[in-house]
């Protein structure tokens, strides 16, 4: 019973938020949720698949640009048409980049994803597509309309928030299903021992590529809503600094859990907000905090991390959850 009690309470709080909090906070939480979707999607590749990608911001930004490009002037775009198109574009980009990058391993993979991500950045930065380095506006938020009657208009912050919340929950559901499925277990096996997994008969390349594409599509989902929320897209959306920032969220939240990166996103975005309000040199502070987090993790806090941020015991084979040594420390 307790298993569903906590998530249910959290969802109830999330639903209640727009009725209790000022619009600013509703928008802020929407933004954090969008980054949470991005971080959870990225973690399918990084934490579950062992693929440290530095190009997910490119998928995120690409999807945002698709919305900008498909939005008709000053009218609202149709969500039912543009969202699948944006996610499909992100997925196709992930398929092409993943197909090439997965020919490599480890540090090569990181460098190749970073380079191809920057290629997409330059594509939007240097060419005239959607305003070049100046970016482009999404003048009206997308809507769902049938025969001219608006069923859903994202222009209202509360409506936008609820749509994002719905997609957030859907993302968690899909990722949880994937991670627990035979696919997810095979992916974890390939991460932990590629050679053995291959000799058992798992097609490692295809397995990882599928995970990478799904992960890219989820990043696209997040990018679509980010573009819709800000009403603006710029090449910086695709830049690798965002990819690295999202990796920090993943690391804060815990690599082996589905919802951990969401918590990481909430923590880091909240932190950024506080830092921006309190110092001009917030990037310096953020850099120092990132370094401190990494050093803390290296120093052994890592074992504590999943206890604090919830690597779920029913998550797939996980270092901490399965280790009797860790349990020994608990008891």
């Amino acid at each position: 019973m307790r298993n569903w009690l906590v998530p249910a309470a959290l969802v109830a709080c999330a639903i209640a938020l727009p009725f209790a909090a000022p619009t600013y906070y509703v928008q802020f939480v929407s933004k954090a949720f969008i980054m949470g979707i991005l971080a959870m999607g990225l973690n399918l590749a990084v934490g579950h698949g062992g693929m440290v990608s530095l190009c997910h911001a490119a998928f995120f930004g690409l999807a945002g640009y698709i919305l900008a490009l498909l939005s008709p002037g000053y009218d609202a775009a149709s969500l039912l048409l543009t969202l699948p198109a944006a996610m499909a574009a992100a997925a196709i980009a992930a398929l092409v980049i993943g197909a090439l990058a997965l020919r490599t391993r480890g540090v090569y993979f990181i460098m190749v994803t970073l380079a191809f991500g920057e290629m997409l950045f330059f594509l939007f930065h240097d060419t005239g597509i959607a305003g070049g380095s100046d970016g482009a506006y999404v003048n009206a938020k997308p809507e769902i309309a049938i025969a001219g009657y608006r069923l859903l208009d994202l222009a209202s912050p509360a409506a936008f928030y609820f749509v994002v919340l719905a997609f957030l929950i859907a993302t968690i559901a899909v990722l949880t299903m994937l991670v627990r499925s035979p696919f997810g277990h095979a992916l974890a096996a390939a991460r932990d021992n590629e050679r053995r997994a291959r000799s058992l008969g798992f097609p490692i390349y295809r397995l990882r590529l599928i995970a990478f594409v799904i992960s890219g599509a989820i990043a696209g989902l997040a990018g679509y809503f980010a573009a819709a929320q800000f009403g603006f897209v710029a090449p910086q959306m695709l830049g690798w600094h965002l990819s690295a920032t999202v990796l920090v969220m993943v690391l804060i939240g815990g690599l082996r859990s589905v919802t951990g990166p969401l918590i990481g996103a909430l923590v880091l975005i909240g932190l950024e907000e506080v830092l921006k309000a309190s110092t001009d040199y917030w990037k310096l502070a953020e850099g120092l905090i990132v370094i401190a987090i990494v050093l803390a993790l290296l120093g052994g806090v890592r074992q504590l991390w999943p206890m604090i941020f919830g690597a779920r015991p029913d998550a797939p084979p996980s270092r901490r959850a399965a280790s009797p040594v860790a349990e020994g420390h608990n008891g």
Partner: protein, 290 residues
């Protein structure tokens, strides 16, 4: 394209490639020997350029700026290795990526505090400031030629050190067989510290020599980091010779790409990288794994 124009472009390509090589060889050495992927490498390139601007502005001498800039970067490298980088040996690449990302944020902000975010230019030394008249209406800056020559000397030095000296043997042994060096009783911690500092100093040196022909601007490190990565992916990681091949390939592709395919020139090097990945995923001079 007539022969003279072609020659000029070729010189440009080689000069660009040589600077790339300086920076990328530092990156590939650090990875090959320490096993650490350092995303902050580009930040030191940027820092080198700003130091060149700043010191040259105070002292009026590019040469002082060059020597002092490299020395500062070297010392910063020693300090960073002993405080942060040594904790990353043998760790997940993810942790290395994020710690060096944190360093980038810090370095960027420190640069902004010290130097601001304005774009600057640096004057080359007076006796290198002229141009050589090639034809009636075509000339070539002496400084660019000097860069070619200087970088070739540095490259030759790097190769000499790696192939001929005891330190180079240690470096090669480290890259190829960590266990063996441990058995030989080599002070790994000391070698590591200096290799990292040299790597950083090479990045800064690249930034310093490029400063007079490029502008000095905040985002220059990011662009160079990506290019260095492409160089390393093309050449094969840990291989200095591979870095040379990769750097020259990019120099040629980029320079002639801008001449022949100006509309798509910015993505040509990535197309090149994709082709190399399809052909030899471990790089042109990288070891083939089965």
């Amino acid at each position: 394209m007539d022969l003279v124009t072609f020659g000029v472009q070729l010189l440009n390509a080689v000069q660009y490639g040589m600077v790339l090589f300086l920076v990328a060889s530092g990156l590939t050495l650090v990875f090959g020997i320490l096993g650490v992927i350092n995303l902050a490498h580009g930040a030191f390139y940027m820092l080198g350029a700003y130091l060149a601007y700043w010191i040259a502005a105070y002292t009026g001498s590019f040469w002082i700026a060059m020597v002092a800039g490299v020395a500062i970067a070297f010392v910063v490298g020693l300090v960073l290795e002993s405080v942060f980088i040594r904790r990353l040996y043998g760790r997940d690449h993810l942790v290395q990526v994020l710690l060096s990302f944190g360093l980038i944020l810090v370095i960027d902000e420190v640069r902004e505090i010290l130097f601001g975010k304005d774009v600057h230019s640096v004057a080359p030394p007076a006796w290198l400031a002229g141009s050589i008249q090639l034809t009636d209406n075509l000339s070539y800056p002496v400084y660019r030629l000097a860069i070619c020559g200087f970088c070739m000397i540095v490259a030759a030095l790097i190769f000499l050190v790696i192939t001929r000296t005891k330190i180079g043997m240690i470096v090669r042994a480290g890259a190829e067989n960590r266990e063996m060096t441990r058995v030989l009783g080599i002070r790994f911690d000391v070698v590591n510290r200096y290799v990292f500092a040299v790597g950083i100093a090479l990045a800064a040196l690249g930034g310093i020599v490029i400063a007079p022909i490029s502008t000095v601007f905040p985002g220059m490190g990011d662009g160079m980091l990506i290019l260095s990565f492409v160089v390393v992916v093309l050449g094969g990681i840990g291989s200095v010779a591979g870095a040379a091949v990769g750097a020259l390939l990019i120099g040629l592709t980029d320079t002639f790409g801008k001449v022949f395919f100006p509309s798509v020139s910015s993505i040509l090097i990535y197309v090149l990288m994709a082709m190399v990945l399809l052909w030899r995923p471990n790089g042109i001079l990288g070891r083939r794994e089965v």
